[in-house]
Symmetry: C2
Subunit: 301 residues, 2 copies
């Protein structure tokens, strides 16, 4: 566990040793089953992840949990408080939990999360749960490339919150209506069904499972729906397609990071970037011509 | 208005004529005052933007509004519904309103929004209001580079929604506590004050203004706070610093887009990207080595 934690820290700190480590680990990765969990704020995602972990542990599976949190210097405390619930598993050697900040990843959040999945998979975790708040595009993209993506909704969210769910509907392999002991749960189910009736889903129509995370209700049904999707997606080739999309994302993120790193270190020497911005600010230069200048310096135009 | 709408469509459609157009417009841009508005879902941002627009119109200012929406094939209707409120201004020639989807911008959402600001500024708008949902990092970054950034909070949001606000606290130049006729408004003000007391703000401590958007209350006070910030930020050099940050973001976004475009068109010929992904999927190749191969082909390593 300590080695895994240190490896992830190297990635998060963008340590110069991280690429070599990830290169060495990559051939051993790709074996964990990755389950993405997303949904609007207040949907009870963390509790669901906690319950899914407990059930999967009973089956003897080793678990990795990656919680992608929107954080800032102000928020550390609040988010950590939220994670304290997970400490039941913190004493369990079969569960590895890591929170990731959404800020400060040079190659983008998706790339950084991909690297953490590589590490957890190479460490032999059977299942990796990735939890994000499904309102930012990055966060949605991350969950969208999991083997199976859960979208968690709840009764009684305001209109604008429900509109937010729009961006995440299309990535759902299984819908979860959590807090389904509340009024309006059946209306949420009906709304999802009516949306699904209008859309195409690569021949796969997502199941809708009702849960009450805090009461541990519906978790077995949810895991059965996940397994059913995985089996079917394995047969139809959809699973392979999703894994390829994730690999393409990882590759492009890495390449973008390397290219921009080269630009910063070689082409835009110290002070030169500032001089470019000076000329932009004076409106002597526009961003397109500036980009072309850099490409020319790199011998690329 | 029609020319502005067409120019924005060229940018959104990534038309090959867009770069030349933006180059030509850029020298005429940078004159509009850009006011960013962000906050969690349900904070009443659209209503506030509507009220701010009405007040600014009374002062004779011409207005551009850019609403960055999380959209998907499913959501078009819902979001459009939300925008219908703005149609009061749609009949006003002095107001230009445009919604932007958060998906499908090759150079990133921030770059695309920057281009739209260039167009609206060059078209002579006095004030451009940029509204985003402050939960995705991209959306926060966009508002963070406005001349003045408003962060809108409301009483009575759930805990997790309040945690979300964390990521946006640091970009606030002025805080708005909207729906302040509700219970708990003073508690929200006190919470913001306690957070501010712990943080540094480049010598500037954000004002907190209470509003009731739907009742048109507090809007003049809000505009006075905005103007006070702008005046002070102009003197201290903070405004110039923010504008430089925005220009740097536009330049880097453009460069990244051009570099990745070159990779796709020149280095990764048809089918070659797929073969790379094949090798990644077979674990014969890792993303870092793949990126290095591409850099070598480009003569960059």
């Amino acid at each position: 566990m300590r080695a895994v934690a240190r490896a992830i820290s190297l990635v998060e700190d963008e340590d110069s040793r991280a690429p070599a480590l990830l290169k060495a680990l990559f051939p051993h990765s790709g074996r964990a089953f990755v389950l993405g969990v997303t949904g609007p704020p207040g949907a009870g995602k963390s509790t669901l992840v906690d319950r899914l972990t407990a059930h999967l542990r009973k089956e003897g599976k080793s678990i990795g949990i990656v919680a992608v949190d929107p954080t800032s210097p102000y928020s550390g405390g609040a988010i950590l408080g939220d994670r304290i619930r997970m400490q039941a598993h913190a004493l369990d050697e079969g569960v590895f939990i890591r929170s990731m900040a959404t800020r400060g990843h040079l190659g983008g959040l998706a790339a950084a999360t991909g690297h953490v999945l590589t590490i957890l998979s190479a460490a032999g975790k059977d299942v990796v749960l990735v939890e994000t708040v499904g309102v930012g595009q990055d966060e949605v993209d991350i969950v969208g490339t999991a083997d199976v993506s859960l979208v968690v909704l709840v009764p009684g969210l305001g209109d604008e919150v429900q509109a937010l769910k729009a961006g995440i509907m299309e990535i759902a392999d299984v819908f979860v209506v959590n807090k389904s002991d509340r009024d309006g749960a059946d209306r949420v189910v009906a709304e999802i069904q009516s949306m699904l009736s209008m859309a195409s889903h690569d021949g796969h129509r997502p199941e809708i499972v009702k849960t009450v995370g805090t009461a541990d209700q519906g978790i077995d049904e949810l895991l059965r729906a996940v397994e059913a999707f995985r089996a079917k997606a394995g047969e139809t080739g959809l699973l392979a397609k999703k894994r390829r999309a994730h690999l393409r994302q990882q590759f492009e993120g890495t390449l973008e990071e390397r290219l921009m790193g080269l630009v910063r270190s070689r082409v835009l020497a110290a002070g030169e970037a500032e001089r470019l911005v000076d000329r932009l600010a004076a409106r002597e230069l526009d961003p397109f011509t500036a980009a072309e200048e850099v490409l020319r310096k790199m011998g690329l135009s």
